[in-house]
Symmetry: C2
Subunit: 286 residues, 2 copies
DNA sequence: CCAAAAGTGTTTTGCATACACCCATGA
DNA sequence: TCATGGGTGTATGCAAAACACTTTTGG
């Protein structure tokens, strides 16, 4: 295995979807700048062109729900105070969905993930002004003209919902350090990623009421209170408990299971599960 | 002016947005196959690579409202029974919106158009199986390996609404013959364009109720009855006249003008205009 | 028995629908 | 004055919202 291929996974999207997550060699080997820079340079000058569709990038807004708050996964760029969204490129034989899915799996280690394309950004901001190239030049490296990042990129944007607090793989900690950030405390971001994150949240808020995506942020079995907290966090409002319960139940897509005994001194809530029978899918379409 | 540049406009997107529509030379000059084939071949082998972002296409679903029916603009491909959506490519210095807008103006001659990106299609259907290449080979031409259409393409899709029955420019009648088609009588289409057209209609139906886009299909001043017909055509239902009027007026985004005397033997309807004050925009956001 | 949280019932309000009625217009 | 289509008023029904009440649990 060519040593650069790990770097490819770190920087970008694997070209196939069946790379076993657990069996990957440790990225620690490439954590020093001295080792990284020539690998990155080689990637930008050679491998990237061979593996990926030119001009095309994927950015993902990955949401999860922790401590009653909606979080988004950001990557802090190379020891700067600037953040960006996890992203990657599209393998020459990959569909867009496959490429986005691969990025998700690479970053989170999870395989069951809700994923939805919501926007394609075609502005020219990054063209000739890439952060990674600038950083490399600061460090004395100079990838040749015509390298991968000197293209103009169009970015297809996805948002994703995680149903467990994902452990976040640090596949390339020196270049991109992952961090879960409160959705209402977004830091300064590179390129147009702040705008993309904003659009992702808008879309999530919208889909929540029209496609019932909320349960994707919870484990398979959940209480009504937990589901309500998701709605409140995403819409940043307070909801009436009784009305919320009736509304959810009236959709006919939740299945009531046995009670959950929490050990707390109050009535135990029922557990619910999303009902996957065809009838439920119908109810959501309208 | 290089003769191929007209062809470029015919096949694809101009790279700038200020080509004067009226001053274009007639395309009649290039209407025979003998003249067209070498120009197309040269375009595919040379000019396209220089002008456009690789791997990226734009497809547009252009809607208008004629005789109380919703129509979509399709292009019949080179004397076959197959149709496709008007499309083009993205100039190296164009944003996606600019490229889509240029295609619209090129095909319709109009400059004020509602335009909304709704989907990016990344399947591999067209890869290695392009209709134009196949047709050229049937005709004995053989663009060299590595020509523009041998790439894998990702297509950014827009839908557009025209507020007048556009005259449809026949810039390349031999290759693509334009035709307004009833939305409920879609013919067989190339690539995944049938799917894209379907998604465009779904999106239009959805936006109609959430972003009040309907008035973009009408001239600036219109009667309530005309607006209602738009809604009925797009949703394929009958609506109550009284309820419709109250709902529209309650949105607070219509401005009532003077009456319109039609010459018909009945009460004359008021004319309305879309209200562009900021308050209206707020009303639409929710 | 109490506090806390969950579940359910009841009232009210708002909105969409349906339908009725009146108005303006030109033949 | 009549037919036609446009504008407005009114009754009805459904569903969401607000609030009250009951139930369950562990201390």
């Amino acid at each position: 295995m060519h040593p650069g291929s790990l770097l490819v996974q770190g920087l970008a999207t694997p070209t196939t979807m069946d790379i076993p997550t657990a069996a990957q060699p440790s990225a620690e080997l490439y954590q020093t700048q001295e080792q990284l820079i020539p690998l990155i340079t080689s990637f930008l000058e050679n491998e990237a062109h061979q593996l990926f569709v030119p001009s095309l990038a994927i950015d993902t807004a990955i949401f999860s729900f922790q401590n009653d708050k909606l979080k988004i996964l950001l990557l802090r760029f190379w020891n700067t105070p600037y953040y960006c969204l996890p992203g990657g490129f599209v393998g020459k034989q990959q569909t867009l969905d496959e490429a986005a899915y691969a990025i998700l799996r690479e970053r989170t280690g999870l395989t069951t993930i809700y994923l939805d394309q919501f926007y394609t950004s075609g502005n020219l901001e990054r063209f000739g002004n890439d952060a990674l190239l600038t950083k490399l030049r600061e460090l004395g490296a100079a990838p040749r003209p015509g390298n991968w990042l000197e293209q103009r990129f169009v970015s297809v944007c996805y948002y994703a919902l995680l149903d467990e607090v994902a452990f976040c793989q640090t596949i390339d900690p020196l270049v991109f350090e992952p961090e879960w950030v409160d959705i209402d405390k977004l830091p300064e971001m590179l390129y147009d990623h702040a705008e993309i994150a904003g659009k992702a949240l808008e879309r999530l808020q919208f889909d929540l009421n029209h496609k019932f995506v909320g349960f994707n942020l919870l484990p398979e079995e959940f209480t009504m209170g937990e589901l309500q907290k998701i709605y409140e966090a995403i819409h940043q409002t307070q909801l009436d408990r009784a009305s919320f319960q009736r509304k959810m139940l009236s959709l006919g897509i939740l299945e009531r299971l046995e009670k959950k005994y929490t050990g707390k001194a109050h009535k135990s809530p029922y557990l619910y599960r999303f009902n996957k029978v065809p009838a439920a899918a119908e109810a959501l379409a309208g």
